[in-house]
């Protein structure tokens, strides 16, 4: 890539995405056959002084920009088979005598009192901790320690995470946010995807919102719904971490249908009995460490049906109340 001898037209033809670089740097590039270096050197000293950058740095950064983009395009599908956790220590410093392996297609739930360390466990996996998190746990990908490129690159996205965050802080509209996120996740048909995401998010939450709403104006439930739909559509990550999806009045069944796909490794922290029993196994957290590992028993599996019936009634009650109706009357007893 010889940026010193390339004309502007050739640059834009060979690397069309380099337009974005100049847009971000706020430099207008006319579509001419001048050499890029000549054009940049024609620009006044004053302009560069005001901007706080110079032609040399522009070329240096442009090269890195193009290389990064080419590298991203060349990335193959993220495919991993297993994630393993090697125990660290709990809040009292006691050793966490655990060595767990999660395979593709497995759903593991994480339960425990509030403050016990469920979110910390999810964070360890998101961070692919190598003993360098407060718990000292180690995470292995396909049996090996993940290299720096996998842990810290912006390109490899092995983990999609839904934290307990109920609100956005970013100062953009729904459309802008999704466009940027789709952009950095290299989605092909951006407009179609964004449309699908908003439609799905509206199905999950109550009051509908549209593309032009600032994300900071969304309610807790709407924000959550948007985050869930965003994760479901934009993420090709093989690992999905979910933290208390039952919060904010989201329809958990629909949400899980969106998120839990075959071929993914799913870990879900929850207080909800139905969600807790949905996993193949559950990890019981206490005092910052994994205290017990329970496989969902056949009796517990049967319980799910009973609980779901109860849940439907509960859901109907909730819906009535939300819609401003009365319960407990003769024709609408509720239960």
């Amino acid at each position: 890539m010889d940026l010193k001898n390339i004309s502007i037209n050739n640059l834009l033809n060979q690397y069309p995405f380099s337009r974005k670089f100049f847009e971000v740097q706020e430099i207008e590039l006319p579509e001419v056959d001048f050499l890029l270096v000549d054009y940049l050197s024609e620009i006044s000293e004053e302009f560069w002084e005001d901007k706080g950058i110079d032609p040399e740095q522009i070329l240096f950064s442009l090269e890195a920009f193009i290389e990064a983009d080419l590298k991203q395009q060349a990335l193959s599908e993220n495919w991993i088979d297993t994630v393993a956790i090697l125990g660290g220590h709990n809040k009292s410093g006691e050793k966490e005598d655990v060595s767990l392996v999660f395979r593709r297609g497995s759903v593991t739930t994480i339960v425990g009192p509030t403050g016990s360390g469920k979110s910390r466990l999810l964070a360890d996996i998101e961070w692919m901790a190598q003993g360098d998190s407060p718990t000292g746990r180690k995470v292995l990908i396909d049996g090996k320690e993940p290299g720096q490129e996998i842990r810290f690159s912006l390109e490899h996205k092995l983990v999609a995470q839904l934290s307990q965050n109920m609100n956005f802080v970013m100062d953009v509209s729904v459309r802008e946010f999704l466009e940027m996120h789709a952009g950095c996740r290299k989605v092909k048909d951006v407009n179609r995807t964004i449309f699908d995401i908003v439609a799905e998010a509206n199905r999950l939450s109550g009051e509908a919102f549209d593309m032009n709403t600032p994300v900071t104006s969304l309610s807790g439930g709407q924000s959550r719904a948007l985050m869930i739909a965003d994760t479901a559509f934009l993420s090709s990550s093989p690992i999905i971490l979910i933290d208390e999806i039952e919060n904010a009045g989201i329809d958990r069944k629909k949400a899980l249908q969106l998120l839990v796909r075959n071929e993914k490794i799913v870990l879900m922290a929850t207080h909800d009995p139905i969600l807790a029993l949905m996993g193949h196994q559950r990890l019981v957290i206490r005092n910052g460490g994994i205290a017990k590992i329970l496989e969902t028993s056949p009796e517990e599996q049967k319980m799910i049906h009973v609980l779901q019936k109860l849940d439907e009634q509960w859901f109907n009650l909730r819906h009535k109340i939300r819609m401003g109706e009365r319960i407990g009357t003769a024709d609408s007893p509720g239960i």
């Binding site: 974005k20 670089f21 971000v24 740097q25 706020e26 207008e28 024609e42 620009i43 006044s44 302009f47 002084e49 901007k51 706080g52 950058i53 110079d54 740095q57 240096f60 950064s61 442009l62 090269e63 890195a64 920009f65 290389e67 990064a68 964070a123 998101e126 961070w127 360098d132 998190s133 407060p134 720096q148 810290f152 912006l154 996205k157 983990v159 999609a160 995470q161 839904l162 934290s163 965050n165 956005f168 802080v169 970013m170 100062d171 953009v172 946010f177 940027m180 996120h181 952009g183 950095c184 996740r185 985050m227 965003d230 994760t231 934009l234």
Partner: protein, 290 residues
């Protein structure tokens, strides 16, 4: 004061070979200090009995807008380096007051302060950077960090040949990276803090925007409260080369210019009271022409 030519102490040939092979030790008893250039790097040679011990100091500039988390990150990174037996020191620059010296001292990290008073703290920083290095060498630090104030977006505190770090946070707003000038654009490492407050999607989008503004920098997420990421950053600090001599060293880009009457204490508003560098706003709309 410093010899400009390259010279070699013949009896120290084995030490010079040590330098090239990357070995060095910290001076524990400094009796005489001689400075010598070897290639582009400045090394200190100390006399200790009949043996020569050599000490070298790594130097790193850390910048970033106010409240981005520079001090919190530095505390975690320097603590980490201390556990690796690296003798660290820091100089913190600010304008009016800072208690940050205390924060560092409490953790056993030696810290100096530069308070600029009514001057721009970042211009003040550049005027004093060599003095900082000399202080650091006298103290025998293995690694020294300066933390500048980063008051305006056009600030340019980084030096050629010195590892440049810029600390920003996830809450700044998605258009802010574009607004920050040389502090971000010329940095080698960009540290992004406060990631635990935002969703993963927002972290990704923000990091993506930073990458568009500075595609060549290494972008790292560090949590200033738990210290997550500090170990990785400490490794990057360690891998940086020995500082080149600051004699004749350059800023990576010019600092913002001022020198108008308001710099000299004028408080009256109005064109008749303005002399020097006074730029006027162009209120008409339209594309910027070169």
């Amino acid at each position: 004061m410093f010899p400009k030519s390259i010279f070699v102490f013949l009896p120290d040939l084995h030490l010079i070979l040590d330098i090239f092979s990357g070995k060095y030790r910290r001076a524990t008893d400094i009796r005489t200090i001689k400075y010598a250039y070897l290639g582009d790097a400045l090394y200190g040679l100390a006399e200790y009995g009949s043996h020569f011990k050599i000490f070298v100091m790594k130097f790193i500039t850390v910048s970033g807008p106010p409240s981005s988390g520079k001090t919190a990150v530095l505390v975690k990174v320097l603590e980490e380096l201390k556990t690796q037996n690296v003798h660290v020191g820091v100089v913190k620059f600010d304008c009016l007051s800072t208690n940050d010296q205390e924060i560092f001292h409490r953790r056993g990290i030696e810290a100096g302060t530069g308070l600029s008073g009514n001057l721009c703290p970042d211009h003040y920083f550049v005027s004093n950077v060599e003095e900082c290095i000399q202080w650091g060498r006298k103290k025998g630090f293995d690694l020294m960090v300066t933390e500048s104030a980063g008051l305006c977006n056009r600030c340019s505190p980084h030096l050629k040949g010195v590892l440049a770090v810029c600390v920003i946070d996830n809450l700044m707003g998605v258009n802010t990276p574009q607004k920050i000038g040389p502090m971000l654009k010329f940095a080698d490492i960009v540290v992004i803090t406060k990631g635990d407050i935002v969703s993963q999607a927002e972290r990704e989008v923000f990091a993506y925007r930073v990458k568009q503004v500075n595609p060549s920098a290494t972008i790292m997420h560090v949590n200033g409260i738990t210290g997550q990421g500090a170990w990785q950053l400490s490794q990057l600090f360690q891998q940086t080369g020995v500082t080149e001599s600051l004699l004749g060293t350059k800023l990576r880009f010019s600092m913002p210019a001022a020198l108008c009457s308001y710099c000299l204490g004028e408080i009256r508003v109005g064109e008749e009271y303005q002399i020097g560098n006074a730029k006027k706003v162009k209120f008409e709309q339209g594309k910027r022409s070169f």
